[in-house]
């Protein structure tokens, strides 16, 4: 990334952002009043305010965790604006105002013009908006009884559902960043799929019109009732120019009896420049509870962005015969750091989990897989298979594996395999003598390395993810 972009990003952050939204922000810093103000501005019911306050008070007693294999300068929590009304950023007049490098990336990813405008924050034509795909789809979902809306809307329209499930998977006291999120979360997504309903389409924040600026403390709650099934796509494959340094999101999934949830993420936030300046700290708590018998939760993630990624999408396998899956590709280049993995907590009987993690390190990036597979004493016949492979490109990067396997039941069968290797020179040589350029050869080999994970992504995502990988690794071999 050029310094020009970095300057642009920082400038926007330091001046434009703050002054433009003067009207609807609160001062920097965090105290109990700020939590109350956020709740009041969002006209939240009492239970939610109390929950936020409980979380805030708990957060005060907690210290920022530093066990992850990442380093970053201290975060000043009093120098963050915890509330700004959505759509506060000033829209750009046309695509011509968008950074040309960003546009080139969009074009190479094959994103349509309208979509490009939306992502880049260009004001979208009102007519387009009203007839957008999103609106049509929303009507179709409503007919099936599926609730899919912003978190704020859910609090207003369906407070009983929110109250029933909020914090049941990631409690307000879970960890430092989750507590912070619980206290100050701005908005997010909410989805409820009623009994026996199979959601007919991939749900995505793509289709939710007011999703553009959900802020840095996003909260997602997704519930699949008995026999329901849903596939949810988070994020978007294009680089998102977000000016917030710290992102502490929380995602909670609940799957009841025979329900199944598939949650896919492609994350490509600003990673900072080649020297490691700027970039997003992505400190996310994602957890699913396979609460019902025969329920299934599957996480798929492709992590290519952010300066620091610190996330462990986990599954609590509570229901008997429940299944948890985790498929991940994490790529680091330049000075990016990723400490990511999963937790599979086997509680119910005959539970099964699969973990496939692929880490690619290039430049001076550091990539860690950290995973925990825990089998509790009553979890008879638990089964886990874990495979984590790392690929290193260049000798200034690092790949690390920290698997924790804790078994308290003798009927469990667990297998863990990990390997680390580099791209074989013979493989590159073979491709080159067939007329492929070195860069192309690498992208081909890397795609093959990640194939098992990409197979689990919805089709259109998989294609883009592959291209994205190529772009992230550009210039790492030369």
């Amino acid at each position: 990334m050029s310094t020009a972009i970095e300057t642009l990003v920082n400038r926007e952050y330091q001046y434009g952002f703050v002054t433009d939204i003067e009207a609807d922000t609160i001062p920097r810093g965090l105290n109990e009043d700020v939590v109350r103000v956020i709740s009041a501005k969002k006209q939240e019911p009492a239970f939610l305010l109390n929950w936020r306050l409980k979380a805030y008070r708990r957060w005060l007693t907690m210290t920022e965790p530093h066990w992850a294999n990442v380093t970053y300068p201290a975060i000043d929590y009093q120098n963050i604006i915890y509330y700004s009304a959505p759509k506060s950023a000033k829209p750009l007049a046309s695509l011509d105002d968008v950074d040309p490098e960003l546009r080139r990336t969009y074009e190479r990813l094959g994103i349509s013009l309208t979509e490009q405008k939306r992502i880049a924050g260009v004001a979208v034509d009102a007519i387009f908006d009203s007839v957008s795909v999103g609106t049509t789809m929303k009507a179709e979902l409503a007919a099936l009884g599926i609730i899919f809306c912003s978190f704020g809307e859910a609090v207003r329209e369906h407070p009983e559902l929110v109250e029933k499930y909020l914090g049941t998977v990631v409690p307000h006291s879970d960890n430092f960043f989750a507590a912070l999120n619980a206290a100050v979360f701005s908005d997010g997504s909410f989805c409820y799929v009623p009994k026996g309903v199979k959601c007919p389409m991939e749900l995505s924040t793509y289709f939710r019109i007011n999703s553009a600026d959900t802020g840095q403390f996003e909260r997602t709650l997704l519930i699949a009732d008995e026999g329901a099934s849903v596939s949810y796509l988070e994020g978007c494959t294009a680089p998102r120019r977000d000016t917030n340094q710290l992102h502490a999101a929380v995602v909670e999934l609940v799957a009841l009896d025979h329900a199944s949830i598939k949650y896919s993420t492609v994350q490509n936030w600003y990673a900072g420049d080649a020297e490691g300046r700027g970039g997003i700290y992505n400190f996310v708590t994602k957890r699913g509870k396979a609460a019902g018998a025969h329920s299934k939760i599957s996480w798929t993630q492709v992590e290519t962005g952010s300066a620091i990624t610190w996330k462990y999408p986990s599954v609590i396998l509570q229901g008997d015969h429940s299944t948890g899956e985790f498929y991940s590709v994490a790529v680091v280049n330049n000075r990016q750091q990723a400490d990511t993995g999963t937790k599979m907590i086997h509680i119910g009987k005959n539970t099964k989990s699969t973990i496939i993690s692929k880490g690619i390190s290039a430049g001076q990036g550091n990539n860690s897989y950290r995973g925990k597979v825990k089998v509790l004493p009553r979890a008879d016949n638990a089964r886990n298979y874990t495979q984590c492979d790392s690929m290193l490109i260049g000798n200034r990067c690092g790949a690390h594996t920290f698997p924790y396997i804790e078994v308290e039941n003798d009927s469990a069968t667990l297998e863990h395999e990990a390997s680390t290797s580099k791209i074989g020179e013979d493989q590159i040589f073979y491709c080159k003598q067939r007329g492929l350029k070195a860069e192309h050869a690498i992208s081909l080999i890397v795609s093959g390395f990640c194939k098992e994970v990409f197979q689990n992504l919805p089709m259109e995502f998989a294609l883009e993810a592959q291209q994205l990988l190529g772009i992230t690794l550009e210039g790492s071999v030369g």
Partner: protein
């Protein structure tokens, strides 16, 4: 707090304990121990092992044997040494060297296998110069409270030295025995092994008990391997079932050296083995294998660390665990590959067999890699006996109990088979059969 009781014991003992040249090392070590205290599960390296049974008790220095230990008492623990063989075997009873029980086989000219206390005070001796050069330079006291405690009380133990291009045909056996007088006591045995260029040796360290006393063994072994040197190092831990054992082996390997370590653990209520090696010179090779077998409420912890510092080094690691009763096994294998350590070949495996519903295992194989041209893999498994294998044996007319025995033994024997010394291998295979399988008549393969 028992930390203070160790400091007090040290303050009483240290001024009168020679030699003067060690005083500074001991002082800084006790300061380090006093500052750090005993490790707690809050430390990542001790996450699954609480040493509070050790920390809550104040073990005092042992006074030597209560009654005479007879040579025959040792027979079950000798693999072919002692009176019955021609091994060099040093025997330590409750920490103290016993010349009467020890025996000396033939050693090459210039070699030294001696009790550490005589070496340390031997002014002008070549062995003392060696000790002065190496003692405390390999075993780290920072972040290792037990090693710091051992170094603070350093004095008893053994020195093993082989000059360049020499070889000892028979294994050297260091036998650390405790008897009933050990109850409530602690020993800090220290072993220093120095192998000069292209020297070759097999060293067996045994920690055994003749009673069911409650005591603490806090052993440290430092190993310096010069270019091309080769050491096979077998540690056998058969402490009393009420004893506590913390054992640290730390090796430093120069160019083209070879270190083969085997950790056999069957004893102690709570034990922790730290097996560390650092591949400092190009072309060095390390093999760290082990077998741990626990039942009852035993707690068995292993931590291994292989540091690949130089290029073209290889490391292989296979640890197997058999856990029965309510026992708790812990394995943490670390492999570090530094940026300069290109062409590293590393392989680590940890297999665990759970024989009962109450048994528990926490395993954490760990890779940290900073070089790209490497081949590193690790694998870990946890499970019961293979149902289909059991079924196969039963279909051939073998009773369930026998079939289980056979398969369990096969699981253990797989890693024992790699031990090069016939006497030691046969001895340990015998122990494995007796320990769990209760069928000594099963012929060794």
């Amino acid at each position: 707090m028992s930390v203070q009781s160790y400091v007090d014991d040290w303050t009483r003992w240290a001024p009168g304990a020679g030699p003067a040249w060690l005083a500074g090392t001991r002082r800084s070590a006790i300061d380090r121990f006093a500052a750090a205290g005993f490790p707690t599960p809050r430390l990542e390296d001790w996450h699954f092992t609480s040493v509070s049974p050790i920390a809550e008790r104040a073990f005092s220095p042992m006074d030597g044997p209560a009654s005479g230990v007879a040579p025959d008492d040792l027979a079950p623990y000798e693999f072919g040494g002692g009176e019955h063989g021609d091994w060099t075997q040093l025997v330590f009873v409750n920490g103290r060297y016993s010349a009467a029980l020890s025996s000396h086989g033939s050693l090459p000219h210039g070699a030294e296998v001696a009790s550490l206390d005589t070496v340390l005070t031997d002014d002008g001796g070549a062995a003392r110069a060696l000790a002065e050069r190496h003692l405390g330079t390999i075993a780290q006291t920072a972040d290792h409270a037990f090693t710091a405690l051992n170094t603070a009380f350093v004095g008893l133990g053994a020195l093993v030295y082989l000059p360049a291009d020499t070889e000892v045909a028979r294994p050297i056996h260091l036998l650390f025995v405790t008897d009933s007088a050990a109850d409530g006591g602690v020993t800090h045995p220290r072993t220093l092994v120095v192998l000069d260029r292209f020297a070759r040796a097999t060293l067996v360290e045994s920690y055994v008990s003749l009673s069911d006393a409650t005591y603490l063994t806090n052993a440290v072994t430092e190993i310096a391997l010069a270019d091309g040197a080769s050491l096979t190092h077998i540690r056998v831990q058969r402490e009393s079932e009420r004893g506590y054992h913390i054992g640290t082996s730390q090796a430093r390997q120069a160019r083209d050296s070879r270190y083969v370590s085997f950790s056999f653990v069957a004893g102690a209520a709570l034990s922790r083995q730290n097996i560390y090696t650092s591949l400092d010179g190009a072309g060095a090779e390390a093999t760290l294998n082990g077998l741990y077998m626990a039942d009852g409420t035993q707690h068995v912890d292993h931590q291994t660390r292989i540091e690949h510092i130089a290029p073209n080094c290889a490391s292989h690691e296979v640890y197997k665990g058999i856990l029965d009763g309510e026992s708790h096994g812990v394995f943490n294998g670390k492999v570090y590959v530094r940026p300069e350590a290109q062409k590293t070949d590393g392989k680590q495996t940890n297999n665990n067999l759970l024989l009962s519903a109450g048994a528990r295992i926490d395993t954490k194989p760990q890779l940290e890699i900073f070089a790209d041209d490497v081949k590193c893999t690790h694998g870990a498994t946890v499970g019961r006996l293979d149902e289909s294998a059991l079924f196969y044996l039963k279909s051939r007319g073998i009773a369930t109990r026998e079939a289980r025995t056979l398969l369990t033994y096969a699981f253990a024997a797989d890693v024992l088979e790699g031990i090069e010394s016939d006497a030691v291998r046969d001895g340990l295979e015998g122990l494995a059969r007796e320990r769990f399988l209760d069928v000594p008549q099963l012929a060794a393969p």
